[in-house]
Symmetry: C2
Subunit: 540 residues, 2 copies
């Protein structure tokens, strides 16, 4: 058989050749809407690739981006990746010092910025001299701000009169494509370099019939990632949309739930994906705005398990909840596909399954669970252990690691059970799980049990030291709208329906807000920093 490499230039070519007029809609940084299509996106990407090639960029080089979900950013994705140049997508939610660390680790000397990230870029430039050329992704006709950035140039000037007549080069499919750093919930951020091969396979994986369940064909589907595309490729949607000829909608820099609801309704989005906290914000906004989100049929959810209340809201909005487990280092491992016989389940049984399991394991991700000594545990739904993954969509190293430090199995940092029917249950993060009297308590399950109580908006459980049991749970909660006081005894009583009595938190404390990470997840490191030391650790 032909051994053509799987390169990402094939995706944009396929979309432009065979889904030319399928819309690509994006919000600009100034909030206005831009309407384009896949044919025009290829033209833009080719012009940029031509200009970059003329300026000496080639396979193995890396450029950076500090940018939001815009068409300019997608143009850079396909323009840079198409010529084998890696794209380090920096997260504008981080501090200048974090960004300095990442830029120096990867070593890019050219970074593309937008009108929103320009001030942050100036802070970055003040702390590192690594970047010698800052390219401002301007909009036709819009004014260009003044800047003191070294090598400051607009994208328009950078491209000049480069033609869109360009043939994509051929190179090794294991060439690095996008590079992004883990969000930091797992300690010091680590850089993951996705390859052309892994992104192509990962996008096929996300496009398989058993991933979304309700997936439709071609332009009948309209995708909008709610996640930022700078992080883990925005659920792969910048790649799955052209692969399948879907309409793609991007929200620019505006992540306000109201603006997202408006975009979903006006552009008739059918598939979107977000972490649970963002879904809650979205449903709240839709309720306030009187939107039924009626075009959305499929809601992807990952990051952490949904609460019962959240699952009920998916039902009320008529959105099929598709849960997938994955992480920056290995996206989209499990899928919503229910096991044999599930077609005959009641809606309640289906909901319970969604709540109890994080999907079914897809064939591209080989999984293992092992105990503390590395002994492999059975897939019996009883043994819980450290989850390991390997396969062609998993990261086997981190940016800057020496070749001999590469690993055969990725340690996910999660504790999981795997059931005989192929489904998996994430018990907890290994470093979040509470070891009390030698037994594990899952903070995730405690949070899920508490959050299903009507008075509670969100719950976060952390471990606090205990003289007898070594560790005990402390629960922080935010109150539901309209609730002013918490009846802790009633909450404990409620939680007993879901967890063992000895799991119940010794203290439940109401806090004004929950800290979140740059990707919108509950920030347990911050919770520990804020509350673990100050706990009085009263045994209730």
């Amino acid at each position: 058989m032909m051994t053509n490499p799987m390169l990402l230039s094939r995706l944009i070519d396929h979309a432009a050749d065979h889904h030319a007029t399928t819309p690509f809609v994006s919000r600009r940084i100034d909030g206005t809407i831009e309407r384009s299509d896949w044919a025009r996106m290829r033209t833009r990407a080719k012009r940029l690739a031509n200009a970059m090639t003329a300026q000496g960029f080639k396979v193995d080089d890396v450029v950076g981006s500090l940018a939001w979900n815009t068409s300019n950013h997608i143009e850079l994705f396909y323009g840079a990746l198409g010529i084998g140049v890696g794209l380090h997508t920096l997260n504008p939610r981080l501090t200048a010092d974090d960004l300095r660390y990442m830029i120096e680790k990867v070593g890019e000397t050219t970074v593309f910025v937008d009108a929103d990230t320009l001030p942050l870029a100036e802070q970055v430039a003040a702390v590192t001299g690594m970047v010698t050329r800052w390219v401002f992704m301007d909009e036709p006709g819009a004014p260009v701000p003044e800047s003191t950035l070294p090598g400051f140039v607009t994208k328009t000037a950078f491209i000049g009169d480069a033609s869109d007549d360009f043939a994509w080069p051929c190179f090794d499919e294991n060439q690095a494509a996008t590079i992004c750093f883990t969000s930091g919930t797992t300690g010091r951020p680590k850089g993951v370099a996705y390859t052309h091969r892994s992104i192509t396979l990962g996008s096929m994986n996300m496009s398989m019939a058993d991933m979304y369940g309700t997936h439709r064909r071609g332009a009948a589907e309209c995708m909008m990632p709610i996640a930022a595309i700078f992080h883990a490729n925005g659920w792969m949607m910048p790649f799955t949309a052209p692969m399948n000829g879907h309409k793609l909608v991007l929200n620019g820099r505006d992540f306000s739930p109201e603006s997202l609801v408006e975009l979903i309704d006006t552009e008739k989005v059918t598939i979107t994906g977000a972490v649970p906290t963002i879904w809650m914000d979205l449903f709240d906004a839709a309720d306030r705005m009187g939107s039924k989100l009626e075009t959305v049929r499929t809601g992807l959810l990952a990051g952490t398990r949904p609460s019962r209340g959240l699952a009920e809201r998916f039902e009320r909005f008529g959105i099929t909840l598709c849960q997938s487990w994955g992480m920056t280092e290995v996206p989209g491992c499990s899928r919503s596909a229910p096991p044999a016989g599930a077609e005959d389940w009641t809606p309640e049984e289906q909901r319970e399954h969604h709540l109890a399991r994080q999907g079914r394991i897809g064939f591209l991700s080989e999984m293992r669970i092992v105990d503390d000594d590395g002994k492999v545990l059975p897939f019996d739904g009883e043994h819980a252990g450290h989850l390991l993954v390997r396969g062609p969509i998993a990261s086997g190293s981190y940016v800057g690691l020496a070749e001999e430090e590469a690993f055969e199995w990725l340690e996910t940092g999660d504790i999981a059970r795997i059931y005989a029917d192929g489904s998996m249950e994430i018990v907890d993060r290994a470093k979040d799980v509470i070891k009390s009297g030698g037994e594990w308590i899952s903070t995730l399950q405690l949070e899920s049990a508490a959050a299903s109580h009507p008075a509670i908006a969100e719950a976060g459980v952390i471990s606090v030291p205990h003289p007898r049991w070594q560790e005990r749970p402390l629960m922080l909660v935010t109150l539901a709208e309209g609730v002013n006081e918490l009846d802790a005894a009633a909450v404990r009583e409620h939680m007993l329906a879901f967890v063992a009595k000895w799991w119940l938190p010794d203290e439940i404390r109401v806090v004004p807000t929950m800290p979140r990470t740059s990707t919108g997840k509950l920030d347990k490191m911050a919770l520990r920093r804020l509350y673990a030391q100050r706990s009085e650790n009263i045994i209730a």
Copy 2:
């Protein structure tokens, strides 16, 4: 990212680990039904692999099979492929001399046979001494026939007491996996060696949401290929079923439509696939037997375009017709996915689209159409040209070709149009198309137009020489059940609704039966042999 090779052992491991009890049902050669599951299939494959390894089989070796759609055959697929041994699947519908040619071309010295193919194997052994070991795939407890085959041994004896404790080896994903020869409609049969990479990608391709359209998840789907698994991997179903955890049903050696209908109904098959002639036989049998084929939701169709009458029968049976274009050398290139806006079409408009187009181009298959001089033609739905394909699921060589004879683009031998919306239309086989007065006449379109007339069961058009127009069409037809005579003028009148007047065949001749190839397609070579020379070529 990890660079784990994509090997087919992953598929059976995935199915056995995570879809262990999903059924695998197959008809034995004696007609009885065997019930198994994916876990037991892996155990069998591992025992066989262990025995083969002990006997010295290793990566790069090839064994042959002369066998039908049985569990023994699937055991051999996974057992041999799992250790990197190629499997040359021989077609028992061919003659001993054809098989001799193929065996000597590939060079396998061990061939696995079943109770049905044993007599044919003895004919083959009489004309070639290449095979020194014939393994009889026996059934537990069933009697073993006498045989004069050299090195005759039962699979039970071959395996001996080999254990199922076996770790699949790791090797290059470009290693040859199954090998099969083209069906011969395109001249001298040519051997195609699928690789582990191409089969894995091809199976993912067949599992993508836009391929089947109605595809469901895991064990909710029950697949049965009606094609033989020795040819082009049986529509990939032996691989897509374990990949997705589908139930798999195999029909043994029994391809009688009645038996297939019975198997579909008793095993509740939801997806099947066949060429148009087989679909017609299946619907006829279902009608005779009073079956509604009610569990079947998705009907894959390939090989040639369906007639209007056939499309209507899909509708009457409530089966979604999913057309895909492909060939032995590059299976599953296009998919049923309709273009933008198709959701709003009426059922009639959808049917017309199905009839007029052979699906939408999938991203793994890069396509070109070129004129006789190799000039690339536009995708405008007007220009028709020779269809070329390239990509990681396309064959870039044939068995026995020297390395320098490998080709960058596969010449499909089809004449096609590609439309701006990504759909393709197969105009004709390049060697079937009739060049009349310098213009092309599509035999496929003539056949389709004729077959939609109620008096005609099937039509086949061939070219006959003509003194003025160089070539003119001759049409052979079989009559519909209950029709004794043909009103040729009425048929011509009917055809005028679909084709130009000058395309109309000069002669329409009723024949008792249509010759078919070993894969069930209309055999145009036989038609030409039988009728082209004897035509009187009367201008009507």
